[in-house]
């Protein structure tokens, strides 16, 4: 582990040095193509201080984060129950699955024009497409999670004579939760991709808006700042989800460790 970390750090340092050398020292990469570290820094100062593309960095980050969290939570709140229902009832599965088969191949990004037509360039359209992109993986993985619960475990639950609500909250949901979390991780990734795309297509604020304006202004430093912001936000939200997962699945990590 020690070795891995030090090699990793060394690599990142070397890449940064190469970046500096290629842009600022020797000018191998022309300034209009990729920013030097100094240009990136000044773009960061620019967007954090005076603001860029209609607001300062905090405002853009806040709005992007807000939309992703809202769309994502909305998707969980609708997708997980639907997945549970489909997993539990063969009838519900037979009824809903064909609709899914039709809608599923359409990538979430393809809903963006329709969302803009329906809801305009504001928040509502973005929440709709984020909801949609996060909804599908939530449903599918929850469904698979329910179906993956060991049959004897379900029979043990019947044998113990569970009331319905307790059966859902203490057997179905925890039993499906490893897969549910897999779905949520995919959902979260899809949410960010979709949000950035939607903001690139048209928005009044947000990180995608910064990227869009920077592209039009041919401002490489600001493009890089925007990309780094997207990466950090994606990483941070994934971390939060990972922590929630580790907490919720303590019993499962023990199980995985026991299996080796």
């Amino acid at each position: 582990m020690q070795r891995r970390v030090s090699i990793g750090l060394a690599t990142i340092l070397i890449v940064c040095a190469l970046w500096y050398a290629a842009t600022a020292m020797f000018g191998i990469i022309p300034p209009g193509r990729f920013p030097s570290p100094a240009e990136t820094w000044s773009a960061l100062v620019h967007v954090s201080g005076r603001g860029y593309g209609g607001g300062d960095l905090t405002m853009h980050v806040y709005n992007s984060l807000r939309l992703v969290v809202m769309g994502f939570l909305f998707a969980i709140a609708t997708g997980v129950p639907l997945g549970l229902l489909m997993g539990w009832s063969r009838k519900a599965e037979a009824f809903i699955n064909p609709i899914f088969l039709i809608i599923r191949p359409i990538p979430p990004l393809a809903w963006i024009p329709l969302a803009i037509l329906w809801l305009g360039l504001g928040d509502a359209a973005k929440i709709m497409v984020i909801w949609f992109s996060a909804f599908v993986p939530s449903v599918i993985n929850t469904f698979a999670g329910v179906r993956n619960i060991d049959r004897p475990v379900l029979e043990a639950a019947y044998m113990l004579g569970m009331p319905k609500i307790r059966f859902v909250s203490e057997v179905l949901i925890p039993g499906a939760s490893p897969m549910i979390f897999t779905g949520l991780r995919l959902s979260l990734q899809a949410s960010w991709t979709t949000l950035v795309a939607a903001e690139l297509v048209g928005a009044f604020y947000g990180i995608g808006r910064v990227l869009n304006v920077a592209q039009q202004d041919l401002y490489p430093g600001m493009i890089l700042v925007g990309m780094i912001a997207v990466a950090i936000l994606g990483w941070g939200t994934t971390r939060v989800l990972g922590m929630a997962e580790a907490r919720a699945l303590r019993w499962n990590t023990a199980a995985l460790a026991a299996k080796g």
């Binding site: 044998m159 019993w251 499962n252």
Partner: protein
């Protein structure tokens, strides 16, 4: 009370006229507090018998009843111990045992005292806060037995409960079950393919045949056990050395082998 009754029970999987006949004309009565083991080759339908009492399967012919009431669905009055333990991996040992009591709306203080008692009886007290996967197979099966026993069920159904354990653990568990069953008698239906296990544990042993599954013979072990005073021996190997035990075991082996031979002929 806990009297299990099979009356002309048959089970066909698939269409009635062309499906697979798993069980035919099963007639068996298990008396209150009696321990009956069913032995037979794999695929003879012995597990299906148990699953019908549990309420997981319905008989296609005849009636399976407990205390005269035909069985419709699973319930905590007929506790099951599964071969694969079937503990809830997301619940601690304590919560696994607690769940059935909560479903029966037992009051909080009574629940905790009953759980303490069973944990103590099964030597599980120190593992109360563990998750199932942190325990060995034998320990997990102890928890499953505790989960069933704590409900104080009329009927206890055990489906090859020691089949997934290694030989040494198995012996320990068998001895423990005998201790538990003598101290705390229940009506038990025990499924196994291990002949020694059946003879050691049961009051009566039913021998099943295959395709279609029928009961070939029912042996009374209890009278021999009492006459020869098996229970005075503490260790399983001492019991298994007794002439009466060997005799019974050989009888069952022969009966099962005749069955095999008949099939090959």
């Amino acid at each position: 009370m806990g009297v299990i009754q099979f009356k002309n029970v048959g089970k066909t999987f698939g269409p009635r006229d062309s499906g697979f006949v798993a069980l035919k004309d099963i007639d068996l009565e298990i008396r209150d507090k009696e321990f009956v083991a069913i032995v037979g080759p794999s695929g003879c339908g012995k597990t299906t018998c148990l699953r019908m009492v549990a309420g997981f399967e319905n008989a296609t012919d005849g009636v399976v009843s407990v205390d005269g009431t035909p069985i419709k669905r699973p319930g905590p009055d007929r506790a099951v111990v599964f071969q694969q333990f079937a503990l809830f991996p997301w619940k601690t040992v304590y919560d696994n045992i607690d769940l059935g009591l909560r479903n029966l709306n037992v009051s909080g203080s009574e629940r905790s005292s009953r759980i303490e008692a069973i944990l103590n009886l099964m030597n599980l007290t120190q593992y109360a806060k563990h998750f199932p996967h942190q325990l060995s197979g034998g320990m997990q099966q102890r928890v499953a037995i505790a989960r069933a026993y704590v409900l104080d069920p009329d009927v206890l159904l055990m489906d090859e409960p020691f089949g997934a354990l290694d030989a040494q653990t198995r012996v320990v568990m068998q001895e423990e079950l005998v201790r538990l069953a003598r101290k705390n008698p229940r009506t038990v239906l025990f499924i196994t393919h291990a002949v020694e296990e059946a003879v050691y544990l049961a009051d009566r042993v039913a021998i099943m045949t295959r395709a279609p599954g029928r009961i070939k013979e029912v042996l009374d072990v209890a009278s021999i056990r009492n006459a020869e005073d098996w229970d005075s021996h503490e260790k399983i190997e001492d019991v298994m050395d007794l002439e009466s035990f060997v005799h019974l075991r050989t009888h069952i082996w022969r009966s099962l082998r005749e069955e095999k031979a008949a099939q090959h002929a």
